[in-house]
């Protein structure tokens, strides 16, 4: 049951910091810039500079690094997996050999580069979700997406769906835990048996979970209609997003750093 408690995805940690107070649009775009440049860099020194930039941002955000690094845990396997694949599968100058397995210099370099890339990518995105409340995050996405309104992109509806989805993640997790405990009390067993039995054992959790989720969705829809919700058209915002001086400065700084890094390294 401890499993469910360790999910840090989308867990906002409120603090009063420069990063927290940035306009969400700026934060999203800066993250995008960093991610794009991550894929353009080909040298370690580039990753080092970008990594330092992200680390400094983490320190400025006042979010304990423990939480940012916790986002890595579920993806650690993928990082190690790619590292190993690159280590053994790249042709080139052999630096270590064990039977038919050989590690090449090129493989080592490439593997480490890809690992760094994933590492910084995850740190950046976890910082974004840790330092931005879900509401302002979806606000930002909505405003950014409304650029595409002319091709019929339902920006508001997409943002609303995301808000609702994010809002119900903790609720559903809590409910899953409760149903699991209830079924365990009735004699269910989720910890033993082979993979087919385990999958079958999930039925007593999934059915009640779905039944409740549908019921909740229904109730939510009725509640929204009762409050006269009718989609995005003509809807005004409670919080108007405004670009401040610090936003512009941060954005310019990020762009300058990412462009320099991608061009020079």
């Amino acid at each position: 049951m401890r499993i469910l408690r360790n999910i840090s995805f989308g867990q906002y940690i409120p603090r009063d910091s420069l990063i927290h107070n940035l306009d969400p649009r700026i934060k999203i775009l800066s993250c995008l810039a960093i991610i794009v440049s991550l894929f353009l860099i080909t040298k370690f020194s580039g990753y080092l500079i970008l990594g330092c930039f992200v680390l400094i941002s983490i320190i400025i955000s006042k979010v304990h690094p423990k939480f940012v690094f916790r986002g890595l845990r579920p993806l650690l396997f993928i990082i190690i997996f790619t590292l190993i694949i690159h280590l053994f599968m790249t042709e080139g100058e052999v630096i270590y050999q064990l039977g038919f397995l050989k590690i090449t210099r090129e493989g080592l370099v490439k593997g480490l580069l890809v690992s760094f890339r994933l590492f910084i990518l995850i740190l950046t995105t976890s910082l974004l979700t840790l330092a931005t409340s879900p509401i302002s995050l979806t606000d930002g996405i909505e405003r950014l997406l409304s650029v595409f309104k002319f091709i019929g992109m339902p920006a508001h509806e997409i943002a609303m769906m995301m808000t609702i989805a994010l809002r119900f993640i903790p609720t559903l997790l809590e409910e899953t835990e409760k149903i699991m405990k209830a079924q365990i009390s009735r004699g269910a067993d989720f910890e033993s048996g082979n993979i087919f039995n385990r999958a079958k054992n999930l039925i007593p959790i999934l059915i009640p979970l779905f039944v409740n989720a549908f019921r909740r969705a229904d109730e939510l829809a009725i509640a929204m209609e009762a409050k006269c919700y009718r989609g995005g058209e003509g809807r005004t915002h409670y919080r108007e997003l405004k670009i401040k001086k610090t936003d512009i400065l941060t954005f310019v700084l990020t762009i300058v750093i990412t462009i320099t890094v991608s061009v020079m390294f």
Binding site: M1, R5, I13, H64, K178, I179, K181, A182, Q183, I184, S185, R186, G187, A188, D189, I203, P204, I207, P208, V211, N212
Partner: protein, 288 residues
């Protein structure tokens, strides 16, 4: 002694910024055949406490023994413990999932690996205990029932495991007065007819106090009072009001009479008791 808790402490999200101490140094003994009410305000740790009884939660520190077996020892078969202690969660109707009520109630016994003949016997027995007619209900879908009936099916699905002890978390929540009285009288029957040890968890004094024989009052993670309802209402009325639980209306009425100088016994639980007490003090014969 059936369950024995020694210095139980429990902290949620230990070592995280949202760390909260839910249970503080709980000591408790429950004997076989007891009928206990566990009362406390929302968030005082009642639900957390009962989840320790069958090993769903492990205490941060302290010791729990069920029939002399220490639950925290390595190699203890918790499934056996959960079979002895039937825990009915709040809104148990939310855990129903089978196609028919028969299958629903048979879930527990089937997981115990019983043969089909014995399973059917247990389903009949469990449905009878909650006053549902086997012939009428067995083949219906649990999702076609009313809220009160669904709750009774959920209760039956625990009873079919034949636990020695039954713990019910807010069994009357969200039921209309009739549904509430029905389920309480069924629980009473199960206690008296089968000698089942029962723990009723509630945040509401009314009704529960007149049903149980021993009352535990929880406040902010501690058991602050442990006594019979009569004694509690007579001696600890002020404490109950102080922690925001309040008294049943009749008991409050008797306390007000006493405050006005009438020498009445304040440990009454029901309107009938109160009537008898008042008439006795007025030296009038009891009619009826």
């Amino acid at each position: 002694m059936f369950i024995h808790l020694e210095n139980i402490c429990f902290t949620y999200s230990l070592g995280m910024p949202f760390e909260t101490e839910v249970l503080k140094n709980i000591n408790l003994e429950i004997d076989k055949g007891e009928f206990i009410g566990l009362i406390g305000n929302t968030g005082c740790g009642k639900t957390t406490l009962i989840q320790h009884f069958n090993g769903l939660l492990t205490p941060t520190s302290g010791k729990i023994c069920v029939e002399g077996v220490d639950l925290n020892k390595k190699g203890v078969n918790l499934r056996l413990v959960r079979q002895k202690i039937g825990l009915v969660f709040q809104y148990p109707e939310n855990q129903l999932f089978e196609e028919t009520i028969y299958q629903e109630v048979a879930f527990g016994p089937r997981k115990l690996g019983l043969p089909e003949g014995k399973i059917e016997k247990r389903v009949r027995e469990a449905l009878k205990m909650v006053d549902l007619d086997y012939n009428l209900y067995a083949e219906r879908s649990p999702f076609s029932l009313s809220g009160g009936e669904m709750r009774r099916v959920a209760l039956a699905s625990i009873l079919s495991i034949r636990p020695k002890m039954l713990i019910l978390d807010e069994p009357t929540a969200n039921l209309d007065p009739q549904g509430r009285d029905n389920i309480l009288s069924e629980i009473e029957k199960i206690h008296y007819n089968f000698g089942m040890t029962v723990v009723l968890v509630s945040h509401n004094m009314e009704k529960i106090a007149e049903t149980v024989k021993r009352l535990l009052v929880m406040y902010r993670g501690e058991i602050i009072i442990d006594d019979t309802p009569q004694e509690i209402f007579e001696k600890h009325a002020n404490d109950l009001v102080k922690v925001g639980l309040g008294l049943p209306q009749v008991t409050e009425c008797m306390h007000k009479l006493k405050a006005k100088g009438k020498d009445v016994y304040t440990g009454v639980l029901t309107v009938d008791d109160a009537e008898r007490e008042v008439l006795k003090k007025m030296k009038k014969p009891i009619k009826r």
